[in-house]
Each structure stands twice: as structure tokens, then as C-alpha cells.
């Protein structure tokens, strides 16, 4: 009796759940393989659907896993667009032949050249500055200058950073590689490791909290984590932000500017909805989407001229490194190798 009941139940449940296998290739739907998981982005997808009538299906996950899944799915992959939170993974997807070229005048005019693949395989839509956070009470602003300076012995035991396996660090060091070459970076990485106040661990928020708590005095973080704390509904978080300052390095006139990473997207090579996919990418560069990015996660809009309510944390005339993202992304692997060799775990 029991087992008959169970089997009935099983069949029922399976058939109720089974149909959820994801739509495929239908003209009015767009399948996003999404490495960004911010709830606020949903406003963008809704608006896109409202304007075009194209339904957006989502699978969110780690970009690396999504890339591997697209590879395994091969020609039958339902993916139309791959979104990542860094240039490194877009570059990897491109290297694996998973991105198709998009020649969109809209994208080429609105997205600055250094924030997109020169051949048009992928485009960045938000800017993420990797900056130096410092303890206001213990570090005078005048002490801070450049990324390069973080290897100087004056920071001995005071520097905090997350692990080298994280792509944000790989991109930053990839950019340093492009500017200074291998032997400099190897030396720099050793200097950084010598200065560490604790073994690399945690995320960027953890670095900020640790600086506030006094475990270290300076840390490398992406800027929006600081803004997230500053605008948090929780007093504890705001208190952390109060004790920490944000410094945009390499701003001197002769310097190249702050390192900028990007969150971007590509149209997959197997997409059967190329038109909708391109339209979606173009929509991501629209004023509407750009403002949502800025408001929702405190990222800087890639498109020039979009107001960013948080711009006040940055210097009035912000100099940013215009090295093409493809260059530092390509250097990521080498950068990791050098960091690991220096003992940066």
C-alpha cells in the first residue's frame, strides 16, 4: 500500500517539477547565464521585457561554472547572453570561442573603448574601481599614493588583502604587469606579501571590517563594498564606514589613474536569438539600465554622462587607467602565477 502511494507521489512530483527545464530558442525569450546576482538588477530585466516583449529567463551562478556549462551543452546550449562581474571571465569565454562578435553602433559609441573587447566580443557596462581603503584614525591620507607604493616597507604588517585566487586581484596585478613587466610585479608581489597583516582571507567586505577593527591599516577593495557599508540600514555597518576612508590611487598628473574592472556581457556563439541578445546588450547601455546599476550596487556607469549619486566618494577629476580590459584580463593567468610564487595565497 505504502509503496504504491509513494510511487504515485513520486510520479506526480516528478511531472510537476519536470516541465521546469527552461525555455529554449523561442523568439520571445532570452536566456541569461548570469554571473551577477544583485536583486536590484531585476528592475532592468523587467523593463527590458516591458519595452520589447521578450521574456528574460535567468540562471545565476559563478561565471566559471556557467562557462563550463555552456561548453558542455555545446551546440544545444540555451544560453543567449553571458553576464560576468569581471573582464577576466569574459576574456576566458572569448578564448574558448563562446562569444560572438557584435557590431552594434550603439554599443560602440556608448561604451568607452577601454571597457570593451577591441573586436566587439564583449562589452563592459559598469565600472568597478579597485581602491585602497585606510583607517582614518591611523593613516594620514597624505601617506597614500599608488598601488606600487603598497609594497614599500612602511606598510609592514598593516596591509590586508583577499586571496590571489580571486579574479579582482588577478585583474589588478594583470594591469600592473602590462605597465611594469614581470620582474617588477614579482618584486612588488613579494613586497606586498611581506607587508600583510594577516594571511589573505575573506572577501572585500571582510577587509573593510578588519581595517575598522584595527587588524590592519590599509586594504585593497572594490569601491562599491565601501559604499554598500556607508549606505547600509545597519548602524554597525555605517560605523565601519565611518572609520574607514577610501583612497583612489595613482591620481597624480603623471600617473595612469585608478585600476578599473568591469562587469560586462557577451552574446554567446550558440545563441539562436542574436537579435534579442544584441538588443538586450544595447539596453544594458541605456540610461535606464546604467542608472539602475549605479543606484543598485553603487557601481560607476560605463556610459559617460550618467549621473552617479555616489560619485562624491571619488575625486572630482577622477583619472582612471584606460588600459583595455582585454589586456589585463589576458594577463590574469600570469598574474596569478606571480602572486602564488610570491606566497600570496
Amino acid at each position: 500500500m505504502r509503496s504504491r502511494l509513494l510511487s504515485t507521489l513520486a510520479v506526480l512530483v516528478v511531472f510537476v517539477v519536470l516541465p521546469r527545464s527552461g525555455a529554449f530558442g523561442q523568439a520571445r525569450e532570452l536566456n541569461l547565464y548570469n554571473g551577477r546576482h544583485y536583486d536590484t538588477d531585476e528592475a532592468i530585466y523587467r523593463e527590458f521585457t516591458r519595452r520589447t516583449g521578450v521574456r528574460v529567463n535567468l540562471i545565476q551562478g559563478d561565471a566559471d561554472q556557467l562557462i563550463e556549462r555552456i561548453r558542455a551543452e555545446g551546440a544545444t546550449s540555451p544560453a543567449d547572453v553571458l553576464i560576468t562581474v569581471d573582464a577576466g571571465r569574459l576574456y576566458r569565454a572569448q578564448q574558448l570561442g563562446l562569444c560572438q562578435r557584435v557590431d552594434s553602433p550603439v554599443l560602440h559609441t556608448r561604451i568607452p573603448a577601454h571597457l570593451r573587447d577591441p573586436q566587439g566580443h564583449w562589452f563592459g557596462f559598469t565600472k568597478r574601481y579597485r581602491v585602497i581603503a585606510y583607517a582614518r584614525a591611523r593613516v594620514p591620507r597624505s601617506m597614500l599614493s599608488t598601488y606600487e607604493d603598497l609594497s614599500s616597507s612602511r606598510w609592514k604588517g598593516r596591509l590586508l588583502v583577499r586571496s590571489s585566487s580571486h579574479v579582482y586581484n588577478q585583474s589588478l596585478v594583470g594591469a600592473l604587469l602590462a605597465w611594469h613587466g614581470e620582474s617588477f610585479v614579482a618584486r612588488w608581489a613579494r613586497g606586498v606579501v611581506a607587508n600583510l597583516g594577516r594571511p589573505p582571507q575573506g572577501g572585500d567586505l571582510d577587509q573593510l571590517r578588519a581595517v575598522a577593527a584595527g587588524e590592519g591599516d590599509v586594504a585593497l577593495v572594490n569601491h562599491y563594498y565601501y559604499l554598500r557599508l556607508l549606505n547600509s540600514p545597519h548602524p554597525v555597518d555605517r560605523a565601519v564606514a565611518q572609520q574607514v576612508g577610501l583612497f583612489f590611487p595613482n591620481q597624480e598628473p603623471e600617473e595612469r589613474g585608478v585600476h578599473v574592472n568591469l562587469s560586462g556581457a557577451c552574446v554567446t556563439s550558440t545563441s539562436r536569438n542574436r537579435q534579442a541578445a544584441v538588443a538586450f546588450l544595447e539596453f544594458l547601455s541605456s540610461d535606464f539600465a546604467q542608472e539602475v546599476f549605479a543606484r543598485g550596487n553603487f557601481e560607476f556607469p560605463a556610459v559617460r554622462g550618467i549621473a552617479n549619486p555616489m560619485a562624491a566618494v571619488a575625486p572630482a577629476t577622477l583619472r582612471e587607467d584606460t588600459l583595455n580590459a582585454a589586456v589585463y584580463a589576458a594577463n590574469g593567468g600570469k598574474a596569478l602565477q606571480l602572486m602564488v610564487a610570491a606566497g600570496w595565497r
Binding site: L6, V13, S21, G22, E68, E73, G74, T76, H234
Partner: protein, 577 residues
């Protein structure tokens, strides 16, 4: 554990002739279907290794192996001490709060290890509440000694207190299955309570303890969330790195194959070392030992000893999560959240139901039509339990991707697509079955083996066919074990993360996925809500599990004392090939 059902059922095979062919065929088909991922992974060892990951593995493998071995050893010893001690104390002694302790000791089963890791990392890091408070009280400056939670030691700590219930549960089952008379004999022969524990109870409970430790080992090897969060390089993170950062499925699979091989070797060594010893209970009614009564200080010590592990593995992290959820969690009753909970529940329930069904087919097949094919099928199907979720995902994506491309044109005519194979709820349930069927199978088999073949014979001579026997005799008698099997699979599926992350369909998230995404985005407060929900949903089956163990005792007065009871008990959920 041995397969008592196999030997007993052997005679009954004669009774079947006509329909006999069907069961082995089903069994073989199931075995092939469910072992596909594991075999795919195993097969990669045969292919030549090349790619940049080879150099990477050569460089880092020693460290990975070292970390993994230390982690295994640390957690093994930790769970052994905690789990076995707790099992002995609640079995052999009676003290106020004993029943409560028996239940509470199981609670960490409901908590995924990664949640506990998140909670403790947040609590114990430099900027966390504990160290901040210490600094404030003692006026400490930077550089004071404090154990680092994000370390090997921290991972051992977290995993020990999350995983000890496996050892506890199976040791307790093994202790309860022992004839307590042997303990009494030991005492009359001059050994005290602890002497008896060490010299009789423990050695005899060895298969149970080993099975529990085996489960712990599997979980440790399969753990990704904790070690990743603690920046600890282990085999599992290595598999991830090779697959996702170096993009080499073959490399990942090869690493995984080594891992599986390692596990099987350990299991084999344990079995060999048992030699001719047999540990099964002698026939006859089971009697429960008269527990030794404790009072005063001793009772308090016993109670504290039993409540401490669940407090560390469940109470503290649970409370911290609850606090985070209260302060800054997700809105619980939003539509999105209810959908998450619904998805998770439906998926776990579907998996549990199918798993029990398949387990019944296999177990019944082994009993009714015992043949080498059937036995092999049952063992092969159990292999998946020893394989980390991410490896199962590799093993599924590769052949399924190939199949999807092959079948795509045909599927399209049905209004489906290849994606139905590579990323659908069907794929997920399949992955869960590959991972967790062993838990259901061994529980159902154990249940079946307790039903003597004479019962079957009696029913058959009374004119009932095999299916009638199944429905009228076996099904009612098997209710307890079937229920237990379903619960075990349900809880496992509920917590599963790595395979879910890789294989789930579009627009389909589970609570575990939500936790992982928010946590990886450093939104721990928000993540705590989904985390708590997993715990809450998982709690129910764990409590039911305890009730099932407790209730299945059949009262059978043997002596006037009324203290002796025959009991039917839970057996270890896992058995190895």
C-alpha cells in the same frame, strides 16, 4: 556492513521462474543508468593527461593532498571522540535530560556545513563580535594570540561539530544492536563501565563506527563550501579549480577519480582488517541494557557532555544566523522567497520518493532473484555516495552534453531541447539520485533483511503471489525503514549545493543556491534567512528520524522487570561495495 538479506533470501529465488527475468533486468538497467557519471569520471584515468592543469596539479597536488589528509584525520578523530562518547553516554547511562540529549545530538544534521562555517568565521574573525568584545574588555592591541578560524584547525573544528551526528547515530545504532548481556558478562568478569566500553562495546560496535566515520570521510572529501570559505586548498577545491579555472573537465575528473580510488582503498582496508570476525547480533529478542543511573554531579557532567556538541554544531551558529536574519535578512514572505522554498522542498521530496522506489526495486530484486548481476547492480549504484557533488556534476554534464547534442533534433520535435538533459529538474533529481541512492538502498535493504524468509514462505503457501506478498507482508513491515530512507535522502537533497549550482535549469533556484549566491557576494546577513529556512525544513525530518528510531522499538516483555525490550533499529545508511 554485511548483507544479511542476501544470504537469507537466497533460497527464495527458487520460488520465482516466470517473472524472474524482469527484476534483474530492471536492476541492471538502473545500475547502468545511475553509475554512468561515476564511470565517466573513472574512465578519464585511462585517457592521457595534457593541458596546463597538469603542471598546476604537479605543483600544488602535494599541498592539496596534505591538507586533505590532515582535514580527514582531524575531523575523523574529532567526530570519533565526540560521536562515540555521546552515543555511549546516552545508551549506557540514564540521567535527567537523556531523552532530550538523544534528540538534540542529531540536530547538526539539519545544518549544512557551509552555513556553520559562515557563522563561525563571522563570529570569530578579528572584526567579529567575540574578538571585538575581548579587545574591549582586555584593552588588547593588534597581535594578541587568538586561534585563526579561517584555517585548517578552523575547518576541522567546524566539520567535526557538523558531522559528528553520523558517527553518533550509527554508533548508537550499533550499541543498541549489541546484546547488552555481553556488557553485563564483562562487568561480572571484572571490568568496570569504562573498561566494558573500551574492551567490549567499542570493538563490537566497530562496523557501525566505521560506517559512521566512512560517511564523515565522504562528507569531508565532498565538502566544498567550508574549505572554500576558509581558503583551504583541498582535493575538492582542486577539482573546482582545475575544472573552472583551467577549464579542464578531464583534469577535474582525473583528480576526482584519484579521490574516489582513495576512498575505496580506505574502505577496503577497513573491511580486510575485520578478518573472520562477524559482528551481527545473535538471533533472538533484543534486550536493552539496564542503563546505569547517574545522579548529582555525574548526571550533570553527562548532560553537559551531550549538550555541548549540538550547542557548538547547531545552537551557536543557529542562534547567530537567526540574529542575522532578524536584523538584516531577506523578506521571508516575498513571492520569490516562497518560490525558493517551494522549489527546494519539491525537489527534495521528489528525489526522496524516487530514491525509495528505486531502492525498493533493487533491494527486492536482490532478495527475490539473487544473482551476481543483481548484487553488482546494488553495489555499483551505491558508489555515488562516495563521490563529491561537483564530480557527479562533471560526470553528468559530459555524457549528457554529448547525448543532448545527439538527441537534440528529435527532442525538438517533442517541443523539448537538449537542455532537458543538461539543465533541468530532471537532471537535478538524477544527480541527487546518483549521489544519495545509497542511503535509501542500504536502509531499505536492512529493513528487508529483518523480515525472515519463513514469513515470505508462509504467505506464499497461503496463496499469495510475489506482488501480493510485497504489498501485504513486506510493505507494512517495511514502513519504518522506507520512511527512514526517504528522510535521509530528503535531508541530503535539501542541503546539496555543488551539483545544484551546475545543473539547475533556468529560472530555478533553491534555498542552498540562494545562500551560496548571497554569501559569495558577501551579503551574509541576507543569506542567513535562506540558510535558516534550510535548517528549519531539515529539522523536521531529523526530528522524525529520531522518532522513527525511538518508536520502532517493539515492546516485548522478557522478564518481569519490564526493563528489557526487543528493539528494531536503524542500521547504517551506507554500505560500501
Amino acid at each position: 556492513m554485511t548483507a544479511p538479506g542476501a544470504g537469507r533470501g537466497a533460497g527464495s529465488g527458487v520460488w520465482f521462474s516466470a517473472r524472474q527475468g524482469l527484476l534483474p533486468a530492471c536492476g541492471a538497467a538502473l545500475a547502468v543508468a545511475l553509475s554512468l557519471p561515476v564511470l565517466t569520471v573513472a574512465a578519464t584515468v585511462l585517457s592521457p593527461a595534457h593541458g596546463e592543469w597538469v603542471e598546476f596539479v604537479r605543483l600544488v597536488l602535494p599541498r592539496y593532498v596534505q591538507n586533505t589528509v590532515w582535514l580527514l584525520g582531524g575531523v575523523g578523530v574529532g567526530t570519533l571522540v565526540v560521536g562515540v562518547t555521546a552515543a555511549w553516554v546516552v545508551t549506557a547511562y540514564r540521567f535527567p535530560g537523556r531523552r532530550l540529549a538523544q534528540v538534540v545530538l542529531l540536530l547538526p544534521l539539519a545544518v549544512p556545513a557551509y552555513l556553520v562555517a559562515y557563522a563561525y568565521a563571522d563570529l570569530l574573525q578579528y572584526s567579529g563580535p567575540v574578538q571585538s568584545a575581548l579587545r574591549a574588555w582586555l584593552g588588547l592591541a593588534r597581535g594578541y594570540p587568538f586561534p585563526e578560524i579561517r584555517s585548517l584547525g578552523g575547518a576541522v573544528f567546524v566539520l567535526t561539530f557538523v558531522l559528528y551526528p553520523y558517527v553518533y547515530l550509527l554508533t548508537r545504532a550499533a550499541l543498541l544492536e549489541q546484546s547488552p548481556l555481553t556488557w553485563e558478562v564483562s562487568r561480572t568478569l571484572g571490568y568496570g563501565a569504562w573498561g566494558t566500553f573500551l574492551r567490549v562495546a567499542l570493538p563490537v560496535a566497530r562496523p557501525g563506527i566505521a560506517a559512521g566515520l566512512g560517511l564523515v570521510g565522504m562528507e569531508v572529501l565532498a565538502d566544498f563550501g567550508t574549505v572554500k570559505y576558509f581558503e583551504l586548498d583541498t582535493f575538492a577545491t582542486g577539482v573546482y579549480l582545475v575544472w573552472f579555472s583551467y577549464g579542464s573537465v578531464a583534469g577535474a575528473a582525473r583528480l576526482a577519480a584519484w579521490l574516489v580510488g582513495f576512498v575505496l582503498a580506505v574502505v577496503a582496508v577497513e573491511r580486510l582488517s575485520r578478518g573472520r570476525r562477524r559482528y551481527h547480533r545473535p538471533p533472538g529478542p533484543l534486550r536493552e541494557a539496564r542503563p546505569m543511573h547517574l545522579s548529582g554531579v555525574q548526571a550533570a557532567v553527562a548532560l553537559v557532555a551531550c549538550l555541548l556538541p549540538p550547542a557548538v554544531g547547531f545552537g551557536i551558529p543557529g542562534t547567530y544566523l537567526a540574529w542575522m536574519a532578524w536584523v538584516g535578512g531577506d523578506p521571508l514572505w516575498s513571492r520569490a522567497f516562497l518560490e525558493l522554498a517551494g522549489n527546494t522542498f519539491a525537489l527534495a521530496a521528489a528525489t526522496a520518493a524516487v530514491a525509495v522506489l528505486l531502492a525498493a526495486v533493487l533491494a527486492y530484486g536482490v532478495r527475490l532473484a539473487p544473482s551476481p548481476v543483481m548484487h553488482l547492480a546494488a553495489r555499483v549504484v551505491s558508489l555515488g555516495y562516495a563521490v563529491p557533488g561537483v564530480v557527479v556534476a562533471v560526470g553528468i554534464l559530459v555524457p549528457f552534453g554529448w547525448l543532448a547534442n545527439l538527441l537534440d533534433p528529435y527532442l525538438r520535435r517533442l517541443g523539448l531541447s537538449g537542455a532537458a538533459l543538461t539543465g533541468s529538474t530532471f537532471t537535478l533529481v538524477y544527480a541527487y539520485l546518483v549521489r544519495f541512492l545509497a542511503a535509501a538502498l542500504s536502509t531499505v535493504e536492512a529493513g528487508l533483511s529483518r523480515i525472515g524468509p519463513t514469513l515470505e514462505g508462509a504467505a506464499r503457501t497461503l496463496g499469495h503471489g510475489p506482488s501480493s506478498v510485497l504489498v501485504r507482508v513486506h510493505a507494512p513491515l517495511m514502513r519504518g525503514s522506507v520512511f527512514t530512507a526517504a528522510l535521509l535522502v530528503f535531508v541530503d537533497a535539501l542541503k546539496e549545493l555543488p551539483a545544484t549550482l551546475v545543473l539547475r535549469p533556468l529560472n530555478f533556484d533553491t534555498l542552498a543556491v540562494r545562500v551560496y549566491q548571497l554569501a559569495s557576494d558577501e551579503r551574509l546577513m541576507q543569506a542567513s534567512t535562506a540558510g535558516l529556512c534550510i535548517v528549519a525544513v531539515g529539522l523536521l525530518p531529523v526530528l522524525l528520524l529520531d522518532r522513527a528510531v525511538h518508536r520502532s522499538r517493539v515492546e516485548a516483555p522478557v522478564e518481569i522487570s519490564g526493563a528489557h525490550r526487543a528493539e528494531v533499529r536503524l542500521t547504517p545508511p551506507v554500505r560500501f561495495a
